[in-house]
């Protein structure tokens, strides 16, 4: 649905060149929610803005719905953009227009016949749950409600693709969750492909199918969310994953415990996440387990858990226990005190 091929973007100012995107390639399939995560300055905002040519790439191709945006005339690009919705961190609504007009004006300006406008505005306001706010001005709305209006505005053009540029970054956690649920609903019920960028792993975890991690203008890792969670290959990716699992165990404790047996990290995915694996261990083997930290999160399709535990017992017994865990489909890795 969206394909970026070797896209680079360099911003030139008087004194320096800034490479915002460096040979980025990615593909977003129809109907999926694709997330791009990275710290600020990683180039993710430039990336999403290249998809609708708000930012024109310095080189490379952007193909949306089979059509190369770089080959288009101004008119064609305008038509293509009407098929690509976009929502922003700052909502970007008209302050001087009511909620109704905020959706109706762009429809009018893109040539939607007058008799269809009212119908569309009402339909999409209902989808975002703001039918009762039609006559209200944006300044009287909360941040979450403003974003809902912006989403309704984007949907009213009935796009096939929705781009989200840090759409939840200005919102509190609870509102973020409700907006994410709304995006998920849009994706499932209307079949709209979503490409979103964020710096919050939570957003990726909750609604994304696949994720790309960006750093210094490049994609350093990409894949299915579950794979990135279980096998982060890059340090930055690891940092993002561990941001979900705060497990800072004091070094003193780790060094002390290591003398009596290994400290292990257990990663549970899918069905293995809800088995009482650890308690089975102490029953079957002559060891004692002590949980140091643990968490289980719900990814979009399956649960994913991480547990750090200390196993106390004879070497033979602990090895057996670890093998047993592996057989159960649990990933086991030893925690070193530098990590």
């Amino acid at each position: 649905m969206i394909e970026l091929k070797h896209v680079s973007k360099t911003f030139e100012s008087k004194h320096q060149q800034v490479v915002a995107l460096n040979d980025v390639s990615l593909q977003v399939n129809k109907g999926e929610i694709f997330g791009v995560i990275g710290y600020s300055g990683a180039g993710k905002s430039t990336l999403v803005r290249c998809v609708n040519f708000l930012e024109k790439p310095s080189s490379g191709q952007v193909i949306v719905n089979g059509k190369d945006l770089g080959q288009m005339t101004v008119e064609q690009l305008r038509a293509a953009r009407q098929n690509i919705g976009m929502i922003f961190q700052g909502f970007n609504l008209l302050k001087t227009a009511t909620v109704y007009d905020n959706i109706a004006i762009p429809l009018k300006l893109t040539g939607v016949p007058a008799d269809q406008i009212k119908e569309k505005v009402e339909k999409y306001l209902a989808i975002v749950g703001l039918s009762d706010k039609k006559a209200v001005f944006p300044n009287q709305l909360s941040g979450g409600q403003k974003q809902r209006v912006a989403i309704a505005r984007a949907l009213s053009h009935e796009p096939e693709v929705l781009l989200s540029d840090e759409a939840t970054s200005a919102l509190d956690p609870e509102t973020t969750d409700s907006i994410l649920s709304l995006l998920l609903k849009i994706n499932r019920e209307l079949g709209i492909t979503i490409l979103l960028i964020t710096h919050e792993m939570h957003v990726i975890q909750k609604i994304c199918d696949r994720v790309a991690v960006m750093e210094n203008g490049q994609i350093i890792e990409q894949g299915h969310v579950i794979d990135i969670y279980t096998h982060p290959e890059n340090t930055t990716t690891e940092k993002f994953v561990s941001s979900i699992f705060p497990s800072d165990i004091p070094i003193e404790i780790i060094t002390e415990l290591e003398k009596q047996g290994p400290i292990i990290q257990l990663t549970f995915v899918g069905p293995s996440a809800d088995q009482p694996a650890l308690s089975m261990l102490s029953k079957q083997f002559d060891i004692h387990t002590n949980i140091l930290s643990g968490n289980i999160v719900q990814l979009k399709d399956q649960p994913f858990g991480k547990l750090i535990a200390h196993i106390k017992g004879a070497k033979v017994e602990t090895d057996k226990a670890l093998n047993y865990l592996r057989e159960q489909g649990v990933q086991v890795s030893e925690v070193k005190h530098n990590g």
Binding site: G85, L94, T96, P106, T110, F137
Partner: protein
């Protein structure tokens, strides 16, 4: 000081006529100045570097041109433009003769006020409309100008007040008006009552205009 009735009987007619003349000059030149100044203000914004119609040469030329005109005090502009005024409206005297210099004086001022009003508009909103595939001319009119309305109204209020000040000099080319009455009768013929009455009228007019401007602007603001 003579009582009010006496002043009114003696000068009422003249002051009323002058007030009308002032209104006439202000209204006509304001309308023409907005028609010229608003598009100029828009041009100043969209031809800026990195804006939709980025055009360094047009932007710089316009910038310098406006600055040059704005450097000239109205009283000098009034005389300097005499031949031009005659060329445009056929006369350099009376209300018709003063409209030309008033417009030349006010339109660049309005252009600057419009420029600053339009620059205040949130860049993100313009971008959102660009991303929706909306034509640039529609974005300029339906987003930029629309969102800038409160500041545009306040800017025009400022321009009107400046314009009323400038019409005081209109008497020099025989166009009359309140300033002319205050100068000729109040100053030259030493009739202080006339001067005070015109000052009071001017103060009231300015207060009313500023108040109306503020109310309209805050209504347009919607918050």
């Amino acid at each position: 000081m003579a009582n009010f009735n006496e002043v009114f009987d003696r000068w009422g007619g003249l002051i009323w006529e002058s007030t009308l003349a002032t209104f006439q000059m202000v209204t006509i030149s304001l309308l023409i100045s907005i028609i010229i100044g608003l598009p100029l203000g828009i041009l100043l914004v969209i031809t800026r570097p990195n804006k939709s119609f980025d055009n360094k040469y047009l932007y710089r030329t316009l910038n310098i041109f406006i600055n040059v005109i704005r450097s000239i005090p109205f009283i000098i502009l009034l005389f300097a433009l005499l031949p031009f005024t005659r060329l445009v409206v056929g006369t350099s005297m009376g209300v018709r003769g003063v409209i030309v210099p008033l417009v030349v004086y006010t339109a660049p001022y309005i252009a600057r006020l419009m420029e600053s009003a339009l620059l205040e508009v949130d860049k993100g909103v313009l971008e959102a409309y660009e991303a929706m595939g909306i034509k640039t001319k529609d974005i300029i009119w339906h987003v930029m100008v629309r969102e800038a309305r409160p500041s545009i109204i306040l800017g025009i209020t400022i321009a009107v007040i400046g314009l009323i000040g400038a019409t005081a000099m209109a008497g020099l080319v025989g166009a009359g008006g309140l300033g002319d009455v205050a100068y000729r009768f109040g100053h030259l013929r030493y009739e202080p009552e006339v001067m005070y009455v015109t000052i009071i009228i001017l103060v009231i007019i300015i207060q009313v205009i500023q108040t109306i401007g503020n109310i309209l602007a805050s209504r347009a603001k919607k918050d």
